[in-house]
């Protein structure tokens, strides 16, 4: 008979302990950073031994790398979803901003975690090159270039376009502590500002990127 042992055990691990460790690690790493937490802290939150964590993943660093890469992937995928829609560019723009704010409300720690994690901790170099291909496959770049050639979209480098979107969607989420601290507002007021900001960003970016087709006043 064929040896299905490895396959079976793999299937079992996936839904069980290994995934539970990943989930716990994600939560802890997200809120405390790589060097801000201990492997024992993660293990305890799963209800397992520290050694078991190193049994599944080789080290704290390896586990962190895994979580960081998954976070980055989630983040890219949240954009890809929109690019794949069959909609005119301006509708995609509005939808991207809506979805981005919606996605980030569910994962508010993600942007800061990615940027902080990318900058220092876990010395291991993360391969980000795959993500560019992921974005390219959606055809969004060609779509923009065509719109720019037709004079429908303002001629702006795609990196700058990316910066415009990310800046205005991610930063408002990342800066919650700072904004609440400086302006002495509570979570409710901040939430209200955020909702208003979404509409502001939508109008501002549409007006800037598609000046001819979208004139107001």
């Amino acid at each position: 008979m064929f040896n299905f042992a490895a396959l079976k055990t793999n299937m079992k691990k996936d839904v069980s302990t290994e995934q539970k460790i990943k989930d716990a690690a994600r939560k802890v790493f997200m809120t405390k950073g790589f060097s801000g937490c201990t492997t024992r802290e993660i293990a305890k939150s799963v209800g397992i031994n520290v050694a078991l964590l190193n049994y599944y993943f080789r080290s704290k660093g390896k586990l962190f790398e895994l979580i960081l890469e998954a976070a980055l992937s989630d983040f890219i995928e949240s954009m890809v979803d929109v690019f794949q829609q069959d909609l005119p560019l301006e509708d995609k723009t509005r939808m991207l901003i809506d979805k981005e704010f919606e996605f980030l409300r569910k994962h508010p720690e993600l942007p800061l975690f990615i940027h902080a994690g990318l900058n220092q901790e876990s010395d291991a170099e993360l391969d980000q090159s795959k993500f560019l291909g992921r974005l390219h496959k959606t055809g969004i770049f060609e779509e923009c270039e065509k719109a720019q050639a037709q004079g429908h979209m303002r001629k702006v480098n795609m990196i700058n376009v990316t910066l415009l979107f990310m800046s205005n969607c991610h930063f408002p989420i990342m800066s919650k502590k700072l904004i609440c601290g400086i302006y002495q507002i509570d979570d409710n007021e901040h939430e209200a500002r955020l909702n208003e900001h979404k509409e502001i960003v939508k109008e501002m970016l549409i007006n800037y990127l598609f000046p001819n087709t979208n004139k107001h006043a």
Copy 2:
């Protein structure tokens, strides 16, 4: 004779060891974060003993708090500088963006350090209430409210205005690693994108905030 001992020794400490520790701590904390570095690392970079660090500052946490507060103050002051100028609001807007990009090119680690530091590390609550007063004293809020009442400036909550400026100035700097990683560009290309972005942001924000007085095309 009066006792000038305390005054004298204070003056000597300021230019000497105490300040050297602060400078070194700032550099190390900025690049590695609170839990990403050790007191011994800071002490070694100054060329002193670990105990001396605790002699001047009571603990690692106290020292970090000091550095974080100073960083936040620098950051606020970079804005205050512009608000105090005697210029029309639109010129202040352009100047603010120029100065902000200039300031952040000199201290590119500052925004990420502030946001990461504010979010987790150094449990001690930082009093940010003073900064609101610092901004109020420049009269910028009244100036904006007046311009809004006159229909010269778009009616947008000042917190949202703050978010617009900070998002578009700070995020491009903070996201260097991510942008370079995803788009596979080097420091030179990133620098070029940043320079172009400054002009983009200037035009976009001016157009959005002062739609009546600044029409293009």
